[in-house]
Symmetry: C3
Subunit: 214 residues, 3 copies
């Protein structure tokens, strides 16, 4: 490693570390969401949601640090705009996953018998886990196949989420007579579907990063 590279390296590594921590948070949010939709008791769901709120706040701080580092560092491991987009996408995933869980108790919706809600939560678990995997490989870029496999999976999970969302909405309008309940549940489904869109946004930025690297 030459002098110049040595000088630059420490400033570069901070971005990998911050992205990995953010992707860890995102994955943890997915896992906690699944616990929320599987938990029969309101109060136990509430303490899981409070845990999610903490992770979400921690991730806000992290994203803020990422943007500050982006402003401070002239040399970055990827294009500045890709760093900006990836950090925003990961932050959005965390926000939407948290929002979906929060709305379940806020609207006092019972998630236990809602098959569509469970399926959407399962997709969020898988999507966030693939996002974590792909982000973890950015540091060395050795296992390109691992990254591209994850990106393909995230894209197909997003398509699956679209279909399940449509099924949920169709069922909701057909079976729920109370329009106010329709409004509440539709909002929860939408937020979950948007969470998988944001995972896809993250995947698209990662693809744009590896295309430039290749």
């Amino acid at each position: 490693m030459n002098f110049f590279a040595k000088f630059l390296a420490p400033k570069n590594k901070i971005f990998y570390e911050l992205f990995e921590k953010s992707a860890d948070n995102v994955k943890q949010m997915g896992d906690l969401l699944f616990q929320v939709v599987s938990e029969p008791e309101f109060d136990k769901r509430q303490s899981l949601i409070t845990k999610m709120e903490d992770v979400e706040h921690a991730n806000d701080e992290l994203t803020h640090t990422l943007f500050t580092e982006l402003g401070r560092n002239f040399i970055t491991p990827f294009d500045r705009e890709d760093i900006h987009y990836l950090a925003s996408a990961l932050d959005d995933v965390a926000d939407f996953v948290y929002a979906s869980a929060k709305k379940i108790n806020f609207y006092r919706v019972n998630p236990n018998n809602d098959i569509g809600l469970h399926k959407l939560a399962e997709i969020v678990v898988q999507s966030t886990s693939e996002v974590r995997k792909a982000v973890g490989e950015l540091r060395n870029m050795k296992n390109m196949r691992v990254i591209t496999d994850s990106l393909v999976k995230i894209n197909s999970l997003e398509n699956e989420a679209d279909d399940i969302f449509d099924m949920c909405i169709e069922r909701l309008f057909a079976t729920e007579p109370d329009a106010k309940e329709v409004i509440k549940k539709r909002e929860i489904y939408q937020v979950l579907e948007t969470a998988t869109d944001k995972c896809e946004d993250a995947a698209n930025v990662i693809e744009s990063i590896i295309v430039k690297y290749a």
Copy 2:
């Protein structure tokens, strides 16, 4: 043409071709939408919507190719960020026009006697056609007047869509007693209105491209 220009030219042309194809798709989507709202039979509407789905998928591929080329090419005919914004805006137009048609049959809404819906669809037809015209002139930049005329039209069509949207919503709340039907129709109007917003976004990027060129 000097050696250097000859060397760069082929890489540049790909962007014009991709943008023209994407704008063709967008225009086709507008025309198909109009057929959907004018078609009295559910099943015939459905086969038009399936056709739109194919165009929408084709456009997704195209947009993906555009982003990949953007990552691969160091030299681009316009600013990189303008290419990114224009490709995203065209993709969004296609997505929203398709979504509006899909929701009509999904929610089993009869579009035939809905004057507001027809007017919004007509505006989408005109807007997407002007977008196609303006994009087609980017390649040679000779008919600046054609481009600016289209941009002015797209902007005034968007304002018209806002007014028609307000009229639709006012009428909907005044005449539809079933709140669940209000939710469905309001969503269709909103998606159509957003389609015209996205045409305006495309127009704004094109303006920013020609301002830099002038």
Copy 3:
């Protein structure tokens, strides 16, 4: 001041002037919104809303000029992307504040006894005023403390708006039996809450500008 700086300076100042005018508009929109929610008569509210429409149109022109100048000027006082984001954020604040006022009369909602609506409008007044303060300090960057104080306030106002929004929605679902009224009022609360989000977006860009300057 050397010859080169003299030559560049006039082109630079235009951005400060445009941003200050836009922030003035934003602040004025906040003040007018507060008058709207405090005004008991429909017709008097309507003339305030017409005034807001004029300010909103003026701000559209201004934002357009800002983007045109950005295309024309090679040298800019801040990063081009920061100028783009800040102009967009200020424009969004103006749009959402105007939209919230317009919807009040459009949906014939009586704003006078709605405590949540008043509290949200008060937050918008404070947020837009802090945005104006922070933007005004960008020109000389001497009172960094004034800027950072404003940014902290805007962030905490946005959190407060989130809590008040939740309270409004909870109350709305609990007390409003008519689902169509729920749809209307929920939309007004959402637009107001989004206005405070957009103030936070403006604050985030300003932070990114001063981080690079420091």
